[in-house]
């Protein structure tokens, strides 16, 4: 295992290969096109499949087709492209197939901009496509973590037979950082013979498999939705991940922040500590399921006067933070869209100002 300096987008591509995913379909869009460029060279080297589709709509269904016949498969895109893929994501969730989608977020709505954003939080965690489905959403805060999450995403997608999304802001894709890949990570593909349309000869079976999401009988569809709901509840029990930073101190405020934004917050927390102001941080690593209990417990400390949702979006995560806090403490929001990441100094000012607003009684 050796450290290499890599751009986030390239590390994401390499991580998928190391995880045994040799099938990639994609459509170019800034700021994630380097994944496709990297894999157009790398996939042929490892005997894998690389195909540039004609649109994100088509790519979504190439992923569906490949996943349905049992292949480990993934794609990468950015916000407007993910909107187009969301139809397929709904079908994939409905038909219970495993697939990994990486969204390197840019500013929106509409064409928005090409600079980093976290504006697709609601799309990723609450739906995006139609119908009652959820995705497991993982949010990396470094190139190393992006690579690790990509590698974890495939077995998780297969465990739940459900799409898994890696939700990174544009900086995660664009910045270069040292990254280490395990030498032999390749996880074994799970046994998919029970459901995959991989051909009866492949399974040595005379029982055919059917991959579909159509259930015209209302009772059967309701039962299917309950089955899906049970999987999402299981995710809530088994897959919540978060990092607690500086929560051993007697903090006066608790910040909830993820991705690149959380790194800025950590710097702000370190600087404020030098001023004698203690601030804690919960960094959700999974956005769905959301670390509700961790936030509820962390904000319950008597010294903690306010909870701050700091995000590169206009309060999209705030609702989940409020839900987690359950009125135990005031919850405030600070954020910035458009592509400029708030600086540590801005975050420090915001924290000081809210601490003043919620002064010691």
């Amino acid at each position: 295992m050796k450290k290499v300096l890599m751009k986030g987008n390239e590390a994401i591509g390499e991580a998928a290969i190391r995880a045994g995913c040799l099938n990639y379909f994609a459509y170019p869009i800034t700021p994630q096109s380097e994944v496709a460029e990297y894999l157009s060279k790398r996939m042929p080297e490892v005997g894998g499949v690389f195909l540039q589709g004609e649109s994100e709509v088509a790519v979504g269904y190439m992923i569906f087709g490949a996943a349905a016949c049992g292949a480990r498969v993934f794609t990468t895109s950015s916000s407007p492209g993910i909107s187009l893929m969301s139809e397929a994501i709904s079908y994939i969730a409905g038909a219970e197939c495993p697939a990994v989608f990486v969204n390197i977020m840019r500013g929106g709505p509409g064409l928005g901009g090409i600079l980093p954003s976290q504006g697709d939080y609601l799309q990723a965690t609450k739906g995006g496509g139609h119908g009652d489905y959820r995705m497991l959403v993982m949010a990396p805060a470094s190139v190393q973590e992006a690579a690790e999450m990509v590698m974890q995403a495939f077995p998780l997608a297969e465990k739940y037979r459900n799409p898994v999304m890696i939700l990174g802001d544009g900086l995660i894709g664009q910045m270069m950082e040292p990254v280490m890949f395990p030498d032999h990570l390749r996880t074994e593909p799970s046994n998919k013979d029970a459901w995959a349309t991989n051909g009866m000869d492949t399974r040595r079976s005379d029982k055919r498999n059917l991959v579909k999401s159509l259930y015209l009988d209302p009772n059967v569809l309701n039962a299917q939705n309950l089955k899906l709901k049970a999987k999402y509840e299981q995710m809530k029990r088994e897959e919540i991940r978060f990092e607690a930073y500086h929560t051993e101190a007697s903090y006066e405020a608790l910040i909830v922040s993820y991705g690149t934004m959380s790194r800025v917050c950590k710097t702000a927390i370190d600087n404020l500590k030098e001023e004698g102001i203690e601030i804690g941080l919960i960094r959700p690593q999974t956005l769905f399921p959301f670390p509700e209990m961790a936030i509820r417990q962390a904000c319950d400390r008597p010294e903690c006067r306010v909870v701050l949702s700091i995000e590169m979006s206009m309060g999209q995560m705030l609702e989940d933070v409020e839900r987690s806090v359950q009125g135990k403490k005031p919850v405030e929001w600070y954020g910035k869209c458009g592509g400029e990441v708030p600086t540590p100094e801005e975050v420090m000012d915001v924290v000081r100002s809210f601490l003043k607003q919620y002064g010691k009684e």
């Binding site: 269904y61 079908y91 038909a95 051909g199």
Partner: protein
């Protein structure tokens, strides 16, 4: 003396949901017969469209996937790219393929994807209740063209087989029909040819089948056959449009 006529193994025993006089059943049977004859049932993956044939998987006895409206060629691409050894066909109607799915079909054909498309053209949206399709004939009345298709407003019907034939990538593109026994024999031959090309990894293959929809045309099955023959066939000319070298 052995049995001379029986249900193909690739066809299931499910009672049909198709309307009386609809030609989907005939086309399903031809596909099943070809699969039996080629002995490829264990390698088959069918892709059902959105439209009347959305439930096509109920009538076959091999692996099937269900696509969103128009996206079957993208799904077939995904399968063939990761499992070139599987035999894959998309079964699509004219609303599905020629309207919402036009992008996917053109690009799949242009990439020379090694799967087969069975394109059932009955000049109307069937499942949703007889709305105008890109293939609806000039002056043909539908529920969304009650005065008849006005070509000055919505253009002429699209000849998909000819359109795909204009691509430079080698392919097998043919138009057939199943409205009379003499045509059915030829249509089966074309489906067999398409599957043979796929099995050999030769090229993309596309069989358009001019079909009837008595229910949405407001005709009896016999009148529908006559209308298809006198109105559709002069415009949608039968025969091979493109064959690979």
């Amino acid at each position: 003396m052995g049995k001379t006529f029986q249900k193909p193994q690739a066809l299931s025993d499910t009672p049909t949901h198709y309307c009386p006089g609809c030609t989907h059943g005939v086309i399903h049977r031809l596909i099943a017969e070809v699969i039996d004859e080629m002995g490829i049932r264990g390698k088959m993956v069918g892709i059902a469209p959105v439209g009347c044939a959305v439930l096509a998987y109920n009538y076959f006895t091999f692996d099937f996937q269900e696509a969103a409206h128009g996206r079957a060629p993208a799904m077939a691409t995904g399968i063939k790219r990761v499992r070139p050894d599987l035999m894959v066909f998309t079964y699509q109607g004219d609303g599905d393929l020629a309207s919402i799915g036009m992008g996917e079909i053109i690009h799949a054909a242009n990439r020379g994807e090694k799967f087969t498309t069975i394109f059932v053209n009955n000049a109307v949206y069937g499942m949703t209740g007889g709305q105008m399709a890109p293939t609806t004939m000039p002056n043909q009345r539908t529920t969304t063209s009650p005065m008849g298709r006005n070509v000055a407003e919505v253009g002429m019907p699209i000849k998909v087989a000819e359109l795909l034939s204009s691509l430079q990538t080698p392919a097998y593109i043919t138009r057939q029909t199943v409205i009379k026994p003499k045509y059915i024999v030829k249509a089966k031959k074309a489906i067999r040819q398409a599957f043979e090309y796929q099995l050999a990894g030769k090229c993309y293959s596309f069989v358009e089948v001019v079909s009837t929809c008595p229910t949405n045309w407001g005709l009896t099955p016999v009148e529908a056959v006559k209308w298809a023959e006198t109105t559709m066939l002069p415009y949608y000319e039968l025969g091979d449009k493109k064959v690979p070298d």
